[in-house]
């Protein structure tokens, strides 16, 4: 996996004090409450959260498919909420979007789908044809030019949707659960494609998902959304290693309620903050100390020969055991926190 370093660049999208309240017959739903985010040029910006956290609402406010109740979204410093129709239409050509359900035009061929953004921008026919072929090449579907969406697999459909979204030469690509309807293998190939588009074409990507794995795999920054609020935000490696919020811990699969089960067994949360992956630290610890350590949950990822992630362990009570373990782990470059029994 390549490192996710980003060149320093200015903000493309700024979300400022965004609120969205839906009023339904059952009452009011505060889908977003005071969301503030800055998405910079070249980012693959992940927005993660449980179902109903407000992710779709947030991304839809960026291109004004939804209108915020209050607050603002700035695109290249210009208020999206204040734009008139013509300005909004022009902005939407520069801020494309793909969807979980692909949303292809079913009565248009693959070529016809990709051509649509060019048609509405009145690109001359011969130029449009050429562009369609280029785009099909980018998404690796050159042989499907004349196929219809109903003849394609889910992954192929999403590729067509991506090609269509790229037709207007956008600066930003919004992805709302773009891989959530796909199997793991296909998800990998779509994520690779998105990463490629980000690198090669310099397109800023805003990616919504409920899967932490997707964030870890391609995102540079992440915002964790919980109940319409940003629980945590920052570079992916940092947020991943120093998870602060309850929502984050839940999404990372660290189980804060585990210690309740056995109060006599102290639990420790170990943070792998780029420790060398060469040595099997945990097994060495068990071997050398002879302490029976029980691993409750682990979520470790290897990035460039180093380990990132967290592990939750429990061990027999006694100050001696705990001290030994903490000392050993600390000396091997790990951060150890006692998990407070609630």
């Amino acid at each position: 996996m390549e490192s996710n370093s980003v060149p320093v660049a200015g903000p493309v999208i700024e979300i400022k004090g965004l609120h969205k309240t839906y009023v339904t017959t059952d009452g009011r739903v505060d889908a977003l409450s005071d969301v503030n985010l800055t998405i910079s040029q070249g980012d693959i910006y992940g927005i993660v959260g449980m179902s109903g956290a407000g992710k779709s609402t947030l991304i839809r406010c960026i291109n004004r498919l939804d209108t915020p109740t209050s607050g603002d979204v700035l695109y290249q410093g210009r208020s999206v909420t204040a734009m008139n129709r013509a300005q909004l239409e022009a902005t939407r050509r520069k801020v494309s979007m793909i969807f979980q359900q692909f949303n292809l035009f079913m009565q248009r061929s693959v070529a016809g789908n990709i051509r649509y953004p060019l048609e509405i921008a009145r690109v001359p026919s011969d130029k449009a044809d050429k562009r369609v072929r280029e785009l099909l090449k980018i998404v690796d579907l050159e042989d499907k030019l004349n196929a219809y969406p109903s003849q394609l697999s889910g992954g192929q459909k999403q590729r067509v949707a991506i090609a269509r979204a790229l037709a207007s030469e956008p600066e930003v690509l919004l992805c709302d659960e773009a891989t959530s309807a796909l199997d793991p293998m296909t998800t990998q190939s779509i994520l690779a494609l998105l990463q490629d588009i980000n690198k090669r074409l310099g397109i800023t990507i805003v990616l919504i998902t409920h899967e932490m794995a997707v964030i870890r795999q391609i995102c540079t920054r992440v915002a964790i959304l919980d109940g319409g609020k940003v629980a945590e935000e920052g570079p992916v490696d940092e947020v991943f290693v120093h998870t602060q919020s309850e929502a984050g811990k839940r999404l990372f699969g660290i189980l804060p309620e585990a210690p309740d089960e056995d109060p006599d067994m102290p639990s420790l949360r170990i943070v792998f903050d780029g420790a060398s992956a060469e040595k099997p630290i945990m097994s060495n610890l068990i071997k050398e100390s002879g302490i029976a350590i029980n691993i409750l949950s682990a979520n470790i990822r290897h990035l460039g020969g180093r380990q990132y992630g967290q592990m939750l362990i429990e061990m027999p009570s006694g100050p001696h055991e705990k001290e030994t373990v903490v000392a050993y782990l600390t000396s091997h470059g790990m951060t150890v926190k006692e998990v407070n029994t609630k």
């Binding site: 498919l65 022009a90 939407r92 035009f105 079913m106 009565q107 219809y148």
Partner: protein, 220 residues
């Protein structure tokens, strides 16, 4: 009546029926189609929300649709005379047929357009489409198979109305079946005209269903 005479009578009737049905359907669509589009796109959750307008339009269309054709034919008589130059005859009956059918067409079109997945429209919106582009390049083409099916149904319905047009001297197969066949007790004329009408309806329905399937790219 000789076979030749019968064939001639039926052929004339068939042409008259088509001369009423086809222009009526076309004009009913000319009026009903835009209204059907408006019924859909001005809904609160659609691409050009205008809920008050939508409610008024819906009410007017329901009102017009609730007037039975035969009543409308009579009520419209003075207007028909002014618009068509005459109150009776094959050509004149087209006017009440259009007035009677366009609200029906509007609802039919509305139903077809409602089948278009909202996500597809949102995708097109997200690409910076104008409302007009959404309607012309997405909403209508995506609904086309269903619209064609609806058009066939509308045509068959209007064909049914033409049989009642005999009340206004409309002519056609319906008139032949009723006046010559039923009233003058010539059962061969009545049955052959009726069978021809049934065949016509069958052909239109089948053609509609076939075209609908042909142009639909969704299931292959």
């Amino acid at each position: 009546m000789s076979t030749d005479q019968l064939v001639h009578l039926l052929w004339t009737g068939l042409l008259e029926t088509l001369r009423m049905t086809i222009p009526s359907t076309l004009f009913a669509y000319l009026i009903g189609m835009p209204l059907g589009v408006l019924l859909v796109v001005t809904r609160q959750d659609h691409i050009m929300p205008a809920p008050r307008f939508n409610a008024v339009l819906g009410t007017v269309i329901n009102f017009l649709r609730s007037i039975p054709f035969i009543i409308l034919l009579v009520l419209l008589f003075p207007v028909t005379r002014v618009v068509m130059g005459s109150g009776i005859g094959t050509r004149s009956v087209i006017f009440p047929l259009i007035i009677s059918a366009f609200p029906y067409v509007a609802r039919m079109v509305e139903g077809s357009l409602n089948e278009v997945d909202h996500g597809i429209l949102e995708a097109a919106q997200s690409m910076g489409s104008t409302s007009w582009q959404l309607i012309r390049k997405v909403l209508i083409p995506e609904a086309m198979p269903s619209l064609v099916n609806g058009a066939a149904i509308c045509m068959v319905t209007i064909l049914g109305y033409t049989a009642m047009a005999s009340a206004a001297g409309g002519g056609g197969l319906g008139t032949i079946a009723i006046i010559k066949g039923l009233n003058m007790r010539q059962s061969d004329i009545m049955y052959s005209a009726s069978i021809l009408l049934v065949l016509l309806v069958q052909i239109m329905s089948l053609a509609g269903a076939y075209s609908t399937k042909r142009i639909d790219h969704r299931n292959r």
